[in-house]
């Protein structure tokens, strides 16, 4: 049994071991601290100056990472809390992403910016956000998210293989969960890098849910209740690549599709997924795709208030039931 944070840590060790051109930068990433969420533990002891604890300078460290990448190396930059990637927005969108194409020829920028996301930890409005949506549709930029079903080493090689900058989101509660969650009801498989979680032996599901890594456990909880209490069979698709939205397998048979997204309502990843699905499924859908998002509001610090704003299992269940009723 491996926790997601340990799995990511191992993947970074393997990456830096196998590729001496990889650098890692971020606030407090060095030993003995090993990063705010301990994902970089042991790296500085092992790889020396290829791993740097930086000043509090999110904009500049994203730029430094882009510079290392431009100069022929590769960089992993850790933003301590995803909320602060706002400070690196210019470097990521106006330099790193655009420079792959704005000089009239392809310029590779192998840069991965790691962003610990999400709430349900009581950290308050500036330490709990899911900023994925702010980076959707930026030319030259790809978005990925850690899931408990995807091997992080494979994701790092996919991201660096693109030769363009990638944001890699990692949910902070997911860090504490196990990789490859064993479940007595549901099995999973990877189909073209999309995880498909399904009820063994069931026929066509009543609803196919699509979500991102940070919401997997809450969505699975909802699927379990929907099955046991409401007699509704759900299947779940979890892409690790969030944008551009990849091909989501098997949806041709779907009775209903529901996209679940932890970001706040308005201009969302869920809407982007639905936009890519409508032309493909048009004429087969019986009703509009259901979108579930966090509320349109800041994320409160007090747990009882935070809970009401963020997507929870009961909200997913209610949304699926309502759309099928």
């Amino acid at each position: 049994m491996t926790r997601v944070s340990e799995h990511l840590n191992q993947a970074l060790h393997d990456l830096m071991e196998s590729d001496p051109s990889v650098h890692l930068l971020g606030e407090d990433v060095g030993d003995p601290y090993g990063g705010a969420f301990k994902v970089t533990k042991g790296l500085s002891s092992r790889f020396g100056s290829r791993v740097r604890s930086t000043p509090l300078s999110e904009g500049a460290i994203a730029g430094v990472g882009a510079g290392l990448a431009l100069a022929g190396d590769k960089a992993v930059v850790e933003i301590m809390f995803a909320d602060f990637v706002a400070l690196a927005f210019d470097q990521i969108t106006n330099f790193a992403a655009k420079s792959t194409s704005m000089y009239g020829r392809p310029v590779p920028v192998p840069l991965v910016v790691r962003c610990p996301t999400g709430g349900n930890r009581g950290y308050g409005p500036t330490h709990s956000q899911n900023p994925q949506k702010h980076f959707i549709g930026v030319p030259g930029l790809s978005l990925f998210e850690m899931t408990p079903f995807h091997d992080a080493g494979r994701l790092f090689s996919l991201m660096f293989g693109l030769g363009r900058p990638c944001l890699f989101f990692e949910d902070k509660v997911l860090y504490t969960r196990q990789m490859y969650p064993a479940d007595d009801l549901f099995g999973f498989e990877l189909v073209d890098d999309v995880a498909r979680v399904y009820l063994d032996g069931a026929g066509r599901p009543d609803c196919t849910l699509v979500t991102h890594g940070g919401l997997v456990h809450r969505t699975l909880d909802a699927m379990r209740t929907l099955l046991l209490e409401d007699d509704l069979v759900c299947e779940l698709l979890v892409p690790a690549q969030l944008y551009p939205v990849p091909h989501l397998p098997g949806l041709e048979d779907a009775r209903h599709v529901c996209v679940v997204d932890d970001g706040t309502a308005g201009g969302t990843w869920a809407a982007e997924v639905a936009t890519t699905l409508y032309p493909r499924l048009w004429g087969r859908l019986r009703r509009p795709i259901t979108l579930v998002n966090s509320a349109d509001g800041v994320i409160p610090a007090a747990p009882h208030l935070e809970r009401e704003v963020l997507v929870q299992a009961d909200g997913i269940r209610a949304a699926v039931k309502e759309s099928l009723s």
């Binding site: 606030e27 407090d28 060095g30 003995p32 601290y33 705010a36 604890s53 930086t54 000043p55 509090l56 300078s57 999110e58 904009g59 500049a60 909320d83 602060f84 400070l87 930890r121 009581g122 950290y123 308050g124 409005p125 500036t126 330490h127 800041v298 409160p300 610090a301 007090a302 747990p303 009882h304 208030l305």
Partner: protein
């Protein structure tokens, strides 16, 4: 260069009862928070100012009612020295009725009268400059507390530049505790804060004393000049963080933690005036115990119902 605070010694200036009360209220409040965390009663995170309490106690007495105060992640002392309302602050941190901001902001995001904190480092300084721009000429100032590590953020320099160009009454209080989370200042700051202030033509004053009364006497005319001219001022305190950055995340070597403890004002003040200290210490400890008991028994805060 690691800046260290002056070694503990007897205070030359006697602390008033009011100062001692404020210092000890903050000390016991922060200790209580760490205890509540250990008991699993608090969620999220918290950053205590243990060891640094004397800074806001010294500064707050130089502030007027119409001054604006900007605080950061380590802001409980900044708040309590300005507004001795431990009930409201604890209720905010615990998400209980009577919370300063309805439980939405929590430990790091408080807006109460003219006190405002945010959890994003460096974000406050441009805002403080804007407020100071508005206050210029009224005699009031904007005071912003920031740590040494926060000098890594570009917004700090953009703000200092404008504050100096536009001659605004901005008081920047730097709590230089030699560390940012786990990173020593020597590993995150090239040059010095003094030289950075000088580069913008901003006055800089270095404080190594941990004696609130003595500090205040030195700072009083400087702060007066911020209001009167007006002009920005950077006051840099060499101080020590006694506890972890947040909770249970102290990776400093034991000698370093011991050195920090040796500079603590608490034992020095206790020795200087044992009877008075013991009396006020007990009074504030008991006050905080009562606050914890009362606030813990309150129902959850509802947004919109902020005190």
């Amino acid at each position: 260069m690691i800046v260290t605070a002056a070694p503990a010694r007897s205070p030359r200036h006697a602390l008033s009862d009011e100062d001692l009360r404020s210092l000890l209220l903050i000390r016991h409040f922060e200790r209580a928070l760490l205890r509540l965390f250990e008991q699993g009663v608090l969620s999220g995170t918290t950053h205590t100012c243990l060891g640094q309490e004397y800074i806001p106690v010294a500064v707050s007495a130089l502030l007027r009612d119409d001054d604006f105060v900007f605080s950061n992640h380590r802001g409980h002392g900044h708040f309590l020295a300005r507004h001795p309302d431990p009930h409201g602050l604890l209720a905010e941190i615990m998400g209980r009725e009577g919370a300063l901001c309805g439980g939405v902001g929590g430990s790091q995001h408080i807006y109460h009268r003219r006190f405002l904190s945010t959890g994003v480092q460096g974000e406050s300084l441009p805002v403080a400059t804007g407020v100071a721009l508005k206050l210029a000429g009224t005699g009031a100032l904007a005071c912003a507390y920031i740590g040494d590590g926060t000098w890594g953020e570009g917004a700090v320099y953009e703000a200092l530049n404008m504050a100096s160009l536009w001659k605004v009454p901005l008081l920047v209080v730097v709590e230089h505790n030699g560390i940012a989370q786990s990173t020593p200042t020597s590993a995150q700051m090239a040059g010095t804060i003094a030289a950075r202030a000088a580069a913008f033509g901003v006055r800089h004053h270095h404080v190594s004393s941990t004696d609130a009364a003595e500090i205040r006497q030195v700072l009083a005319p400087l702060v007066e000049a911020v209001r009167a001219e007006p002009a920005p001022l950077v006051v840099e305190f060499a101080t020590h963080r006694l506890g972890p950055h947040s909770k249970g995340d102290d990776t400093r070597p034991p000698e370093e933690i011991r050195r920090a403890a040796e500079s603590d004002w608490y034992d020095r003040c206790a020795k200087a005036d044992p009877e008075r200290f013991a009396r006020i210490d007990r009074e504030q400890r008991e006050l905080v115990e009562r606050v914890v008991a009362e606030v813990s028994a309150r129902p959850h805060a509802r947004p919109g119902g902020a005190a």
